[in-house]
Protein backbone atom coordinates (compact mmCIF):
# COMPACT_ATOMS: atom_id res chain seq x y z
CA UNK A 1 0.00 0.00 0.00
CA UNK A 2 2.99 2.28 0.56
CA UNK A 3 1.99 4.95 -1.83
CA UNK A 4 1.88 8.66 -1.17
CA UNK A 5 -1.35 9.07 -3.08
CA UNK A 6 -3.08 6.42 -0.98
CA UNK A 7 -1.72 7.98 2.19
CA UNK A 8 -3.16 11.37 1.22
CA UNK A 9 -6.48 9.80 0.30
CA UNK A 10 -6.62 7.99 3.64
CA UNK A 11 -5.95 11.29 5.44
CA UNK A 12 -8.94 12.81 3.65
CA UNK A 13 -11.03 9.67 4.17
CA UNK A 14 -10.44 9.67 7.92
CA UNK A 15 -11.37 13.34 8.13
CA UNK A 16 -14.57 12.78 6.13
CA UNK A 17 -13.30 15.11 3.40
CA UNK A 18 -13.59 12.79 0.39
CA UNK A 19 -16.49 12.91 -2.06
CA UNK A 20 -18.79 9.88 -1.77
CA UNK A 21 -17.63 8.36 -5.04
CA UNK A 22 -13.93 8.51 -4.18
CA UNK A 23 -14.69 7.17 -0.72
CA UNK A 24 -16.40 4.14 -2.20
CA UNK A 25 -13.51 3.56 -4.62
CA UNK A 26 -11.04 3.68 -1.76
CA UNK A 27 -13.13 1.25 0.28
CA UNK A 28 -13.24 -1.09 -2.71
CA UNK A 29 -9.46 -0.87 -3.07
CA UNK A 30 -9.08 -1.68 0.61
CA UNK A 31 -10.91 -4.97 0.13
CA UNK A 32 -7.83 -6.36 -1.61
CA UNK A 33 -5.16 -4.50 0.37
CA UNK A 34 -4.80 -5.40 4.05
CA UNK A 35 -2.36 -2.59 4.78
CA UNK A 36 -4.60 0.01 3.21
CA UNK A 37 -7.62 -1.35 5.10
CA UNK A 38 -5.71 -1.23 8.39
CA UNK A 39 -4.51 2.31 7.72
CA UNK A 40 -8.05 3.46 6.94
CA UNK A 41 -9.55 1.70 9.95
CA UNK A 42 -7.05 2.87 12.57
CA UNK A 43 -6.84 6.45 11.33
CA UNK A 44 -10.62 6.76 11.18
CA UNK A 45 -10.87 5.38 14.72
CA UNK A 46 -8.30 7.93 15.90
CA UNK A 47 -10.26 10.83 14.42
CA UNK A 48 -13.53 9.44 15.81
CA UNK A 49 -11.98 9.13 19.26
CA UNK A 50 -10.92 12.78 19.14
CA UNK A 51 -14.29 14.00 17.86
CA UNK A 52 -16.18 11.98 20.47
CA UNK A 53 -14.20 13.37 23.39
CA UNK A 54 -16.58 15.58 25.40
CA UNK A 55 -13.71 17.51 26.89
CA UNK A 56 -13.02 18.75 30.37
CA UNK A 57 -15.78 19.51 32.81
CA UNK A 58 -16.48 23.22 33.01
CA UNK A 59 -18.68 23.62 36.06
CA UNK A 60 -19.68 26.45 38.38
CA UNK A 61 -16.79 25.67 40.68
CA UNK A 62 -14.32 26.10 37.82
CA UNK A 63 -15.94 29.34 36.70
CA UNK A 64 -15.93 30.78 40.20
CA UNK A 65 -12.25 29.98 40.69
CA UNK A 66 -11.31 31.64 37.38
CA UNK A 67 -13.41 34.73 38.12
CA UNK A 68 -12.00 34.98 41.63
CA UNK A 69 -8.44 34.82 40.25
CA UNK A 70 -9.34 37.63 37.87
CA UNK A 71 -10.89 39.71 40.65
CA UNK A 72 -7.89 39.20 42.91
CA UNK A 73 -5.76 40.67 40.15
CA UNK A 74 -7.91 43.74 39.83
CA UNK A 75 -10.59 42.84 37.30
CA UNK A 76 -14.04 44.29 37.87
CA UNK A 77 -16.83 42.01 36.77
CA UNK A 78 -20.48 42.78 36.23
CA UNK A 79 -22.90 42.61 39.15
CA UNK A 80 -24.45 39.26 38.26
CA UNK A 81 -21.07 37.54 38.15
CA UNK A 82 -19.92 39.39 41.24
CA UNK A 83 -22.89 37.94 43.15
CA UNK A 84 -22.00 34.46 41.97
CA UNK A 85 -18.48 34.77 43.29
CA UNK A 86 -19.59 36.21 46.63
CA UNK A 87 -22.17 33.50 46.99
CA UNK A 88 -19.53 30.80 46.63
CA UNK A 89 -17.11 32.28 49.11
CA UNK A 90 -18.99 33.18 52.26
CA UNK A 91 -16.86 34.06 55.21
CA UNK A 92 -17.11 31.44 57.98
CA UNK A 93 -18.98 33.81 60.33
CA UNK A 94 -22.00 35.52 58.84
CA UNK A 95 -24.11 38.10 60.70
Amino acid sequence: MKNDLYEKLVDLYAGGELPQETMEELEAAAMGDKDLAHDMFTLTRTVEALHADPGPVYDEETEVRILLTMQLQGAELDQRRQKGVDWQYHLPIQP
Partner: protein
Protein backbone atom coordinates in the same frame (compact mmCIF):
# COMPACT_ATOMS: atom_id res chain seq x y z
CA UNK B 1 -23.86 32.63 9.76
CA UNK B 2 -26.31 31.03 12.23
CA UNK B 3 -28.59 32.99 14.56
CA UNK B 4 -26.47 32.18 17.61
CA UNK B 5 -23.26 33.22 15.79
CA UNK B 6 -24.89 36.53 14.88
CA UNK B 7 -25.96 37.05 18.49
CA UNK B 8 -22.42 36.21 19.61
CA UNK B 9 -20.95 38.69 17.13
CA UNK B 10 -23.32 41.46 18.23
CA UNK B 11 -22.64 40.77 21.91
CA UNK B 12 -18.89 40.69 21.24
CA UNK B 13 -19.06 44.07 19.51
CA UNK B 14 -21.11 45.58 22.33
CA UNK B 15 -18.78 44.34 25.09
CA UNK B 16 -15.59 45.23 23.22
CA UNK B 17 -16.81 48.75 22.53
CA UNK B 18 -17.76 49.14 26.18
CA UNK B 19 -14.39 47.83 27.33
CA UNK B 20 -12.49 50.09 24.92
CA UNK B 21 -14.39 53.08 26.39
CA UNK B 22 -13.14 52.18 29.84
CA UNK B 23 -16.09 50.15 31.15
CA UNK B 24 -14.01 47.53 32.92
CA UNK B 25 -17.10 45.60 33.99
CA UNK B 26 -17.62 44.65 30.34
CA UNK B 27 -14.93 42.04 30.87
CA UNK B 28 -17.60 39.89 32.54
CA UNK B 29 -19.62 39.97 29.33
CA UNK B 30 -16.62 38.96 27.24
CA UNK B 31 -15.88 36.19 29.71
CA UNK B 32 -19.44 34.97 29.40
CA UNK B 33 -18.99 34.66 25.63
CA UNK B 34 -15.60 33.00 25.57
CA UNK B 35 -14.67 31.84 29.08
CA UNK B 36 -15.67 28.23 28.66
CA UNK B 37 -14.13 27.95 25.18
CA UNK B 38 -10.81 29.29 26.41
CA UNK B 39 -10.87 27.06 29.49
CA UNK B 40 -11.55 23.97 27.37
CA UNK B 41 -8.73 24.92 25.02
CA UNK B 42 -6.20 25.61 27.78
CA UNK B 43 -7.17 22.39 29.55
CA UNK B 44 -6.59 20.42 26.36
CA UNK B 45 -3.21 22.07 25.88
CA UNK B 46 -2.01 21.85 29.47
CA UNK B 47 -3.76 18.68 30.60
CA UNK B 48 -4.71 19.79 34.09
CA UNK B 49 -7.37 21.88 35.72
CA UNK B 50 -5.40 24.26 37.88
CA UNK B 51 -3.01 25.35 35.13
CA UNK B 52 -5.97 25.70 32.75
CA UNK B 53 -7.85 27.89 35.24
CA UNK B 54 -4.83 30.13 35.75
CA UNK B 55 -4.15 30.39 32.02
CA UNK B 56 -7.82 31.23 31.36
CA UNK B 57 -7.87 33.95 34.02
CA UNK B 58 -4.59 35.40 32.68
CA UNK B 59 -5.93 35.39 29.11
CA UNK B 60 -8.86 37.63 30.12
CA UNK B 61 -6.67 39.82 32.31
CA UNK B 62 -4.54 40.49 29.22
CA UNK B 63 -7.69 41.53 27.39
CA UNK B 64 -8.35 43.99 30.18
CA UNK B 65 -4.79 45.36 30.11
CA UNK B 66 -4.99 45.90 26.36
CA UNK B 67 -8.59 47.08 26.34
CA UNK B 68 -7.73 50.46 24.79
CA UNK B 69 -6.35 48.71 21.69
CA UNK B 70 -9.35 46.41 21.18
CA UNK B 71 -11.38 46.69 18.00
CA UNK B 72 -14.58 44.83 17.28
CA UNK B 73 -13.37 43.84 13.81
CA UNK B 74 -14.14 40.13 13.87
CA UNK B 75 -10.59 39.11 14.68
CA UNK B 76 -10.99 39.27 18.44
CA UNK B 77 -11.73 35.57 18.94
CA UNK B 78 -8.62 34.60 16.96
CA UNK B 79 -6.54 37.07 18.98
CA UNK B 80 -7.97 35.66 22.22
CA UNK B 81 -7.04 32.08 21.28
CA UNK B 82 -3.59 33.29 20.30
CA UNK B 83 -3.07 34.85 23.72
CA UNK B 84 -4.28 31.66 25.40
CA UNK B 85 -1.97 29.58 23.24
CA UNK B 86 1.07 31.70 24.04
CA UNK B 87 0.29 31.44 27.75
CA UNK B 88 -0.03 27.66 27.45
CA UNK B 89 3.31 27.41 25.67
CA UNK B 90 4.96 29.54 28.37
CA UNK B 91 3.53 27.25 31.05
CA UNK B 92 4.59 24.12 29.21
CA UNK B 93 8.10 25.49 28.98
CA UNK B 94 8.09 26.36 32.69
CA UNK B 95 6.71 23.06 33.93
CA UNK B 96 7.79 20.77 31.10
CA UNK B 97 4.33 19.25 31.29
CA UNK B 98 4.43 15.86 29.72
CA UNK B 99 2.41 13.46 31.86
CA UNK B 100 -1.23 13.84 32.73
CA UNK B 101 -1.33 15.27 36.25
CA UNK B 102 -3.57 13.73 38.88
CA UNK B 103 -6.10 16.54 39.17
CA UNK B 104 -7.52 16.00 35.68
CA UNK B 105 -11.14 14.91 36.05
CA UNK B 106 -13.31 13.06 33.60
CA UNK B 107 -16.84 11.77 33.57
CA UNK B 108 -18.25 8.60 32.07
CA UNK B 109 -17.87 4.88 32.56
CA UNK B 110 -14.61 3.52 33.90
CA UNK B 111 -13.72 1.91 30.58
CA UNK B 112 -14.39 5.06 28.55
CA UNK B 113 -12.54 7.16 31.09
CA UNK B 114 -9.49 4.89 30.84
CA UNK B 115 -9.55 5.08 27.05
CA UNK B 116 -9.93 8.84 27.12
CA UNK B 117 -7.00 9.18 29.49
CA UNK B 118 -4.99 7.03 27.06
CA UNK B 119 -5.84 9.43 24.24
CA UNK B 120 -4.97 12.45 26.38
CA UNK B 121 -1.67 10.94 27.48
CA UNK B 122 -0.76 10.21 23.88
CA UNK B 123 -1.83 13.69 22.85
CA UNK B 124 0.26 15.29 25.57
CA UNK B 125 3.32 13.45 24.30
CA UNK B 126 3.02 14.86 20.80
CA UNK B 127 5.16 17.80 19.73
CA UNK B 128 3.33 21.12 20.02
CA UNK B 129 3.21 21.54 16.22
CA UNK B 130 0.99 18.46 16.03
CA UNK B 131 -0.94 18.99 19.25
CA UNK B 132 -2.01 22.50 18.25
CA UNK B 133 -4.07 21.56 15.16
CA UNK B 134 -5.49 18.44 16.79
CA UNK B 135 -6.73 20.40 19.81
CA UNK B 136 -8.15 23.24 17.74
CA UNK B 137 -9.67 21.34 14.81
CA UNK B 138 -10.47 17.86 16.13
CA UNK B 139 -11.23 18.58 19.76
CA UNK B 140 -12.53 22.14 19.83
CA UNK B 141 -14.13 22.16 16.39
CA UNK B 142 -12.42 25.37 15.24
CA UNK B 143 -12.46 25.72 11.44
CA UNK B 144 -9.23 25.10 9.52
CA UNK B 145 -9.21 28.74 8.41
CA UNK B 146 -9.50 30.11 11.93
CA UNK B 147 -7.03 27.57 13.34
CA UNK B 148 -4.53 28.63 10.66
CA UNK B 149 -5.02 32.27 11.65
CA UNK B 150 -4.54 31.46 15.35
CA UNK B 151 -1.33 29.59 14.57
CA UNK B 152 -0.23 32.17 12.01
CA UNK B 153 0.28 29.58 9.28
CA UNK B 154 -1.39 28.91 5.93
CA UNK B 155 -4.41 26.61 5.66
CA UNK B 156 -2.43 23.99 3.64
CA UNK B 157 0.30 24.04 6.31
CA UNK B 158 -2.34 23.63 9.01
CA UNK B 159 -3.90 20.68 7.20
CA UNK B 160 -0.53 19.06 6.68
CA UNK B 161 0.19 19.31 10.42
CA UNK B 162 -3.29 18.07 11.25
CA UNK B 163 -2.91 14.96 9.10
CA UNK B 164 0.58 14.23 10.40
CA UNK B 165 -0.62 14.81 13.94
CA UNK B 166 -3.46 12.31 13.53
CA UNK B 167 -1.02 9.71 12.26
CA UNK B 168 1.43 10.44 15.06
CA UNK B 169 -1.36 10.11 17.62
CA UNK B 170 -2.55 6.86 16.03
CA UNK B 171 0.99 5.47 16.18
CA UNK B 172 1.32 6.42 19.85
CA UNK B 173 -1.99 4.81 20.70
CA UNK B 174 -0.83 1.57 19.06
CA UNK B 175 -3.14 -1.40 19.70
CA UNK B 176 -5.40 0.49 22.06
CA UNK B 177 -6.90 2.41 19.14
CA UNK B 178 -8.77 -0.74 18.09
CA UNK B 179 -10.62 -0.73 21.43
CA UNK B 180 -11.83 2.82 20.92
CA UNK B 181 -15.44 2.88 19.81
Amino acid sequence: MSGSQKDETLAERRWLNALAKGDTEALGGIYELYGEKIYRYTFRMLGNRSDAEDATAETFLRVLRRSAELRADGAFRTWLFRIARNLCIDRMRQHKLIELPSDAHYTGTEERTTLRITVHEALNQLPIEYRDPLVLCDLEDVSAKEAAEILKISVPALKSRLYRGRRALRDRLGGSIEKLT
